[in-house]
Amino acid sequence: MNKLPIIIKREYLAKVRNKSFVIMTFLSPILMVGMVVLIAYLTKINDNQKRIIGVFNESDYFSNDFNTTESTSYVLFKDVSLQAAKDSTAHMGYYGLLHIPYEDELEKVAEHSYFYTKETPSSSVLEQLEHVFQARLRERRLQDMGVSSSEFAQMDKKYEINTETFEGEQNLKGVNEIKAIIGGGFGYLIMMFIIIYGGFVMRSVIEEKTSRIIEVIISSVKPFQLMMGKIIGTSLAGITQFAIWIVSATLLLFVAFAIFDIDPTTLNNGAEVTGGMAGNMMPSVPTPNQTIQAYAQELFKIPWAMLICFFVVYFILGYLIYSSIYAAIGAAVDNETDTQQFIFPIILPLMLAIYVGFFSVFSNPHGPIAVGFSLFPLTSPIVMLMRLPGGIGEGGVPVWELVVSILLLIVTFLGIVWFAAKIYRVGILMYGKKPTYKELFKWIKY
């Protein structure tokens, strides 16, 4: 009779029935949604607060430049003394007073203008005001050079380069980033899962050691069976938790948005466009709407089925590698405080993968660093997934890289599990010792 399913079942139930697991599972989505709702709510409040700025303009310039915007409105003072303007600004509780004195030339006006506030003004307000002055000054200088304002407007028009692949498909700016973010999302998920559930595996091994049940169990089953049963059982519990989170968080988000009457599109601009692809896109001068549609089309072009398949492959292999290392650490020590020295070297490649992914893969998915880290087995589950949304083969990840990456991962997986099982087998029966790396190495030979 195979004992592995019995062990998996126990490990799964032990984890799922644990009080902290239940609390975490049901509290986390509420906390997460609460955070999102709170942020959205605060953003809304923040946007609604309007600043009123007094403008005391004695010069001949800027008569039409201070127009009320969404966040700022301007109140004009006329025919008063500066002191009176200051007093009434303070009295009315306005944000500040902009004083533009009378001078012959614009340069001098700008030089002698002051912005009075009660407290240090926010940088965004200053930028707004400075922008007005800068625009006027530039226009004035251009006029001196003989450029009319309409010519200037023509000149100031923004330009974006058009890009196209050799096959004639339109390339969009930032698509690489979007793809990498999607891949990064998967990679990040793997990392979080490894750190959280690897830790659970480790603690569970330590518990068996400290409660001394290990010797009873180990006389009935092989240590390897127990280790694998534990890893699989715990990961199934983790998948259960993730599934509950995703389902309940989605439900709660909808409920929360309905209650607080928040439009989800304010949070993710433009991501909502799904239907109605424009059939024939004009490569020249895309309107904003067309651009969004093009991005959406690009999102649909991401090979989701392939991506999810490889996510599963990399997830399983990566998780097994790391959690067997965690199991070996748990076996090597007597209590959790001793684990620190061993944990850091595990976290390191994971962090490296995430950072390399975000800084290197985003800007150049096929650069040498991105390729190297997507082949190296301890980082490939995360980095390769960031590259994969670009597709496989032409224009994407070359097939040989993918094959080599997975082969390396499988070889490493076998090696590490063998190694971890050795340490585990010896470690679970060693009490009262805080092992060094040197000793761990010796255990392999036992």
């Binding site: 009779m1 001394r212 009873v216 169990i217 180990i218 009935s220 036992y446």
Partner: protein
């Protein structure tokens, strides 16, 4: 085949440390076999090899005449010295899990557990969590789990630790009962009085080597030195004492003049007790004449001290 378990020159190394050095044992069927030795002698390593938790570097182990294989795991029950249970798990569930790991089906395991829980009077513990139990209570459950799959060979490492005298007696009776039913038992302990009480055979392991083994009664015979404890009653004990000590080598003398009683220990030549008895009988009333047989404890200490002195 009369032996349930035979080890032939079993050697185990941990790095450079020699944990077992050519240990050969023969454990007869349907007996209680005491595995004795000081702490760190190598007993636990030997037991782990029998349980296939670890493997010998050299030598062979035979179970019931066959080389030891993984299939034999379900025929062995092991109660380790360092034993515990999952703290947060319910007693019944936990016992079921451990029984299933030994290869019992869930239904069969439950049936047998019910029987044993009733028998040891712990039927109402089924839904308790282990952390609510006392140490002795947890030991009872571990004992049940060890024997539940009716193994041919049982290995008990310090089975009585943690039990109060009453429960220790219950467990002792159960062990004897299992032996009656034909189970072979290896019994590892430091408590010599229980060795005396239970074991037919013993092996003594010291510094990774077996230094003594065999039937306990034979070993005792080999260790006795024809020393007798004698009690005599005479009218003049002082005179008697002078007379005897002139003729024989005696020690541990005790005199009680009120009762006219003389006690002493005497070393006599082999097969020569008749003459001496006649000598005593002529002069006094003999009310005690017993051969001193060494206890397991004395044998244990003496053998190890001799061994250490020789090195």
């Amino acid at each position: 085949m009369d032996n349930i378990l035979v080890t032939k020159e079993v050697t185990k190394l941990y790095g450079k440390h020699l944990a077992l050095n050519k240990v050969s044992l023969e454990i007869p069927k349907n007996s209680i076999y005491g595995l004795l030795g000081p702490n760190g002698a190598g007993k636990t390593t030997l037991i782990r090899i029998i349980n296939q938790i670890t493997y010998p570097d050299k030598g062979e182990v035979y179970f019931d005449g066959e080389p030891l294989k993984p299939k034999h795991i379900s025929m062995i029950g092991y109660l380790p010295e360092e034993r515990g249970l999952y703290k947060g798990m319910k007693v019944g569930e936990q016992a079921l899990y451990l029984a299933q790991l030994k290869g019992l089906s869930k239904v069969e395991a439950k049936k047998r557990l019910m029987y044993w829980f009733e028998r040891l009077d712990i039927g109402d513990w089924w839904n308790k969590k282990v952390q609510e139990l006392s140490k002795g209570m947890a030991q009872k459950i571990q004992f049940i789990v060890t024997i539940l799959h009716e193994p041919k060979l049982l290995i008990f490492d310090e089975p009585f630790s943690g039990f109060d005298p009453i429960n220790a007696n219950i467990i002792k009776d159960e062990i004897l009962n299992l032996k009656e039913k034909g189970t072979s038992i290896i019994f590892s302990t430091h408590r010599m009085e229980s060795v005396e009480e239970l074991c037919e055979y013993i092996a003594l392991i010291h510094q990774s080597e077996k230094i003594l083994d065999g039937k306990l009664s034979d070993i005792k015979k080999a260790y006795k030195n024809n020393i007798f404890r004698v009690g005599l009653q005479a009218e003049n004990v002082d005179l008697l004492l002078t007379e005897i000590s002139d003729k024989f080598n005696i020690s541990k003398v005790g005199i009680d003049p009120l009762e006219n009683q003389l006690d002493f220990t005497i070393q006599i030549p082999a097969n020569d007790s008749g003459e001496i008895l006649a000598f005593f009988a002529k002069r006094s009333n003999i009310n005690q004449f017993t051969e001193i047989i060494p206890s397991a404890n004395e044998i244990f200490i003496q053998t190890i001290q001799d061994k250490d002195a020789n090195e």
